[in-house]
């Protein structure tokens, strides 16, 4: 019997459907592997053993009756702990929500459950999705399966590490400034941030409401397409979700990229760009040319304003969204407070970590009277310019390709002394959140030290089908999965 845990989500689905393996076997294989590997990796905040086995058995019973449990029948899945799963703690990587148990499921959970998926566990993350390394979690330190002394990236570090280490074939993350794409890149996996509004945010604990999106991380682009097909689509419970029709992402995957025009923005290849990353991305662009795409240099002239714009808008929205954590209705309440204001201050100060507090402070400042125009309003205008850069570019090209990150996975503690340095990790990813456009990170090579390098494919709003088919074509050509595997856990 082949090692089930090495299969992609797509392969597992096919074997379950053809009754080669049972859903229960697939889930137990994940749970066994989690038991043996996760103590060293610490990708999971919680493992939902009984529930997962019960769900898998129910799927098997449905299949035995000759009925169809859904397009994701028996697929084991991990969920970033910022997404509400009713009846189980959703901590958002924060001490302030240690005992918080949601009373309802997120819309994406409803849809995945309806499609037959099996939730295996909740994964570790940077607290309230604020961070690029998962070092800001109030709980575990999640390691990168490619090198255990390095970060898996963040904030969806647990979701990425869990898939890279073959604990689950697919996972859900969330992305506000790069939090799916950057850990996917650091962990050698494909990961997708959708167009803003493509996937419902109902049940996603909010960090920055105009930027957050839930998205899939998997072992291959087809895994992402299969998940997206289920979670995409308008939701009456999320008024920011889009009525745009959902195309047949899976069916459109194998159309190849011949004839597609690819733009390469010169601002994403600055003089100081890491040479290995630049080379890997350019080599992939050559491969894309070989597959029939045309590549041309373009300009996204306002790129240099991404980080200032992002860190004003995201922190402003976060300061507003995190005002609800006051100890009154849920979450940590400081036991000693004798009056209300003291309860708010102590519950919050004793429950939030340093990075969260720093961002709340920054966000409060830029929204405060006297500073609002100089910072917040200005950042909103800069956001318009960044969005217009993309609108203009997509009149000339079909897709845009960039590196995903300025470096490969860094070591623990390397960037924690200087918040600004950590913020600059988002330099290639945050613009896509600001512009609301879809972006995929795809592994395209490894550094001399054997660390994965991610390439980013960006599309116009609701252009996921083209982004995914380009990703699938390049993935097939590069053969990354057959050439490179994380080996750190095998020692």
């Amino acid at each position: 019997m082949e090692d089930l845990h090495c299969l992609t989500g797509t392969e597992i689905l096919s074997r379950i459907r053809s009754r080669q393996i049972s859903a229960t076997e697939a889930t137990r294989s994940c749970l066994d592997r989690i038991d043996s590997v996760d103590p060293r990796l610490q990708a999971f905040r919680a493992v939902l053993r009984e529930e997962a086995v019960a769900r898998a058995e129910a799927v098997d019973q449905t299949l035995s009756r000759g009925a169809d449990p859904g397009p994701l029948a028996g697929l084991p899945l991990a969920v970033k702990d910022v997404i509400c799963l009713a009846g189980h703690p959703t901590t958002c990587g924060s001490r302030i929500l240690r005992d918080f148990v949601p009373r309802f499921d997120a819309t994406v959970i409803d849809r995945l459950r309806g499609a037959g998926a099996v939730f295996v566990g909740k994964t570790n993350m940077d607290e309230f999705a604020m961070g690029s390394s998962t070092e800001n979690s109030g709980y575990e330190r999640t390691r990168n399966p490619w090198d255990l002394e390095r970060v898996p990236g963040g904030s969806s570090g647990g979701s990425a590490a869990a898939v890279a280490a073959d604990l689950v074939p697919v996972s859900l993350g969330s992305d506000t400034g790069g939090s799916i794409r950057q850990p996917a890149a650091f962990c050698g996996l494909p990961g997708l941030k959708t167009t803003y509004g493509r996937v419902s945010r109902f049940g996603l604990v909010a960090f920055a409401s105009s930027l957050d999106q839930i998205g899939p991380i998997g072992k291959c682009v087809e895994d992402l397409a299969r998940l997206l097909a289920v979670i995409a689509g308008q939701d009456p419970r999320d008024s920011t979700s889009s009525p745009a029709p959902v195309p047949d992402y899976v069916g459109m995957l194998d159309r190849g990229i011949a004839g597609l025009r690819i733009g390469v923005p010169k601002e994403y290849f600055p003089t100081g760009l890491d040479a290995e990353i630049g080379t890997a991305v350019r080599r992939s662009l050559d491969r894309m040319t070989g597959l029939g795409a045309s590549v041309e240099e373009i300009s996204l002239p306002h790129t240099g304003y991404t980080i200032p714009t992002y860190y004003i808008l995201a922190t402003a929205e976060a300061s507003s969204n995190l005002a609800r954590y006051d100890g009154a209705r849920y979450g940590r309440r400081d036991p000693g407070a004798r009056e209300l204001g003291e309860m708010y201050r102590r519950s919050r100060s004793g429950g939030f970590g340093a990075e969260v507090k720093r961002r709340i402070m920054l966000g409060t400042f830029v929204l405060s009277s006297g500073y609002y125009d100089a910072y917040y309003l200005k950042a909103q205008k800069a956001r318009t310019l960044l969005k217009q850069d993309f609108d203009r570019a997509f009149r000339e090209v079909d897709l845009i390709v960039t590196p995903t990150t300025p470096t490969a996975a860094f070591r623990f503690g390397e960037k924690t002394d200087d918040p600004l340095e950590m913020y600059l990790s988002d330099i290639f990813t945050a613009t896509m959140n600001l512009a609301g456009v879809p972006a995929l990170s795809l592994p395209c090579g490894v550094t001399r030290q054997g660390l994965p390098i991610g390439l980013q494919i960006v599309g116009p709003p609701f252009g996921e089908a083209d982004v995914l088919r380009a990703g699938a074509a390049l993935e097939s050509d590069l053969g990354f999965r057959s050439l490179h595997r994380p080996r750190a856990l095998e020692r």
Binding site: S241, E339, R345, K378
Partner: protein, 95 residues
């Protein structure tokens, strides 16, 4: 634009956060470093540009005004640190 310690204390009040004196000093320094970087935006002449506050063009997202069940009070109180007779209880508001 550098912010003074007094402003940092004021922001902490607005955010309902409390810090030790040492933390305020460190935070003040870190915030000022970030603000210097963010100050880059002042290079842009954007007086004539409209602000963008949304990720997409979805607007007027209305629904039918139909009464549907909402979660019962018992569910709403399930995570309450303290509750009594169907209400959240908190320390007194005025000291």
């Amino acid at each position: 634009m550098a912010i003074e310690i007094q402003t940092v204390r004021h922001i902490a009040d607005l955010a309902c956060l409390e810090f030790s004196e040492e933390e305020i000093q460190v935070l003040s320094r870190q915030l000022n470093e970030v603000l210097v970087y963010i100050g880059k935006l002042s290079e842009l002449d954007i007086r004539a540009i409209e602000p963008t506050s949304h990720g997409t063009e979805v607007s007027h997202a209305f629904r039918e005004d139909r009464v549907v069940p909402s979660i019962p009070a018992s569910e709403a109180l399930a995570n309450a640190p303290e509750s009594r007779e169907g209400h959240f209880t908190v320390p007194k508001v005025i000291g």
